[in-house]
Every structure is written in C-alpha cells, then in structure tokens.
Symmetry: C2
Subunit: 194 residues, 2 copies
C-alpha cells in the first residue's frame, strides 16, 4: 500500500463520516480507526485537521467536476436534456443515502465558512466552478434556442447553484426527495422555459 | 431577575454564539459565562443541551413569525410589495452581521437534522410554517392579479423558502450580499412575473 493509497483511504472515510456527523463533531481518531490506519500516523498524511478539511473540499469538488464533465459535456442530447440528466444523476446519489446528509459542500459551508477563512476561500471557489459549469450549459442552451433569450445567463447560473443547495438543505430537513423534484419542476418549466 | 428573564438571557446568548460557532462546537459553559449565569445552574433552566437546541429553533422561528406577521400581513401595500419588503428586511438583518453567519435555521438543519430526530422534526415544522407564510402571500398576490395565474402556489411557496435558504448559504460562502440580490431579481422579475 503506497502513501497515496493510504491518504486516499483516509479521505474516503473522512468524507463519509464528516458528511454524516459534521467536521467539528468528528475526531481524527475515529477517521483513522475507520480507515484502519495506525494511530499517530495521521500527521504523516495531513499537516493538521484543517488540512484534511481543505483536502475534503477538493475531494467533493472533484466528484462534482467528474459528474459535470461526464454528463453536462456529453455529446449526447441537447444542452437542457443534459442539464436534466445532471440533476437526475445527483438526485440518485442522494436517494442512495435516503436524503439524509445533504450536500457535503453545503454542510461544510454552513459549518466552517464563518469560522475559518481558508475554508471560506476554497468553498467560494468551488461554488464559482459549479456556477461556471451551469453557465456554460446555459450558454449552449441559449445558442440551441432551448431557453428564453432574455435570460441573464450569469445570474441564472448562480441562482441555479444556490437554489439547488437550498433544495438539498430542505431535503435534509424533510428526509424526502420532494424538494429536489420541486426544484427541477420550477427550474425547467418556469425559469428556463423558452 | 425572574427565572424566565434568566432563561431568556441564556437563549439570547446561545442564539448569538451558536449562530456564529455551530451547535456541537459551542459548550454550555461558554453560553453561561456570556449570559453571566452561575456555573452549574444550566439544568435549572434546560433539561439538557438538546433541550436548549430545540428551544433555540423555537426562538428563531418566533423571530421569523414576528417579521412575517409585521411585514407580510401588513395592511399597507400590495401582496408582492409586502413580499419584497419582507426579503429586504431580512437582508438588512444579515447586512448587520456582514453576511457572515448565514441562516440560523439553515445552519441547525445542516448540522443537526441527520444527527437528531427531535431536531429534524422541529426544523421540518419551521420550514413548513415559513412555506405557509409564503403561500398565503402568493394566494393574495394571485387574487390581486399580481402574479401569473398559471403558477402552482403550493410548490412555488416551497421553492421560494428553499431557494432563499440556498441564497443565504451562498452569501455565507461569499461573504457578500450578491446572492440575495440575485435571488430577489429572479424571483420577482422571472418566476412570479404576471
């Protein structure tokens, strides 16, 4: 097992536990136990718990980027069809955990953005990248004649990212997928309608 | 100083500190110190830290209800004018703390809904009450001819509450009021437009 494998295993376990329990509420020891990494070797992989938290933001951002690359930039389907497939795919992920834990990036924002400037800077960047992915897709949809051309693409992209985060938050409060369905319904049949 | 005054002072201080630092990340002692209540007397006022957390949800819900009663049910202005004034008033509250801490109800949801069923039940109820306040206002706006009559008022009310929560989350990540402005722009000029 290489150093990088072990680091990845720590990240995988940290992502799961912190998503469920929160960052401040999770101890390093619990993560190491779950990753079966010997006590005391944490600092060989991460300089601090903060460094682990920042690496976790990258971890979740990469998952978003991979899904966005695979679905939003797919050659199959119109821009809006791909956007729908994208939200369906994310919805499916949340369905697997019974809509309990919410968005990991949203959770870390609520918990850490006001406590730690390094977290805030990184989270802000991740949201900006999410909005860029939406913006690119909306520009394509506009050129394709699929959405109302009077739409301000920049602000709509931000609105989509933010409203999706809000829908995931409400999903967590409800323990139900309903808020995600309402989001998709109003986004596609009202806001983006040509 | 009566028992109820002291309880209120503990709640005021807990609301401020937990809003800033998070529920799990705040110790009872820190709250008591800040409220200048003698060490050890906490359990005279609250059965447990959980009971304090649940009382805090009521505390924030009452603030929402008071603002909603004062602004949304005001006799002055059309339904949509009142809705705009409502979001402006909330925006002003967040401006006073430099958009740092986000929505206290949203924060508690992200942190506690999946960890504690009693929190989840109460948070779910609060969101439902927020949606009801929006729904009543939209019904009035519909009767007044201010919004598109094809709108599904129930789901739009939920969408507004959720998207507003998402805008507050993004505000926290950005340290900026911009996401709230984008929310208002798209809500009033696109979604609700008659």
């Amino acid at each position: 097992m290489t150093k990088s494998d072990t680091r990845q295993r720590i990240l995988d376990r940290a992502a799961e536990i912190i998503h469920r329990k929160g960052f401040n509420n999770t101890g390093i020891q619990e993560i190491l136990d779950s990753a079966e990494v010997p006590k005391g070797s944490f600092y060989f992989y991460f300089k601090s718990k903060e460094a682990l938290g920042l690496a976790l933001i990258d971890y979740h951002a990469q998952r978003f980027a991979a899904l966005s690359e695979a679905v939003l930039k797919d050659s199959d389907g119109s821009p809006l069809e791909r956007l729908k497939r994208f939200f369906d795919a994310v919805k499916e992920r949340y369905e697997q955990e019974a809509w309990k834990s919410g968005c990991p990036i949203g959770n870390l924002t609520q918990e850490m953005a006001s406590l730690n400037p390094a977290f805030q800077t990184k989270l802000k960047e991740v949201f900006a990248r999410m909005a860029t992915a939406m913006r690119d897709c909306l520009h394509e949809a506009c050129a394709y004649g699929e959405i109302n051309p009077s739409l301000d693409v920049e602000s709509t992209a931000d609105f989509i990212v933010n409203s999706w985060e809000g829908a995931l938050l409400r999903m967590k409060a409800e323990g139900s997928i309903e808020p995600l369905k309402v989001f998709q319904e109003i986004l596609f049949n009202r806001i983006l309608k040509a």
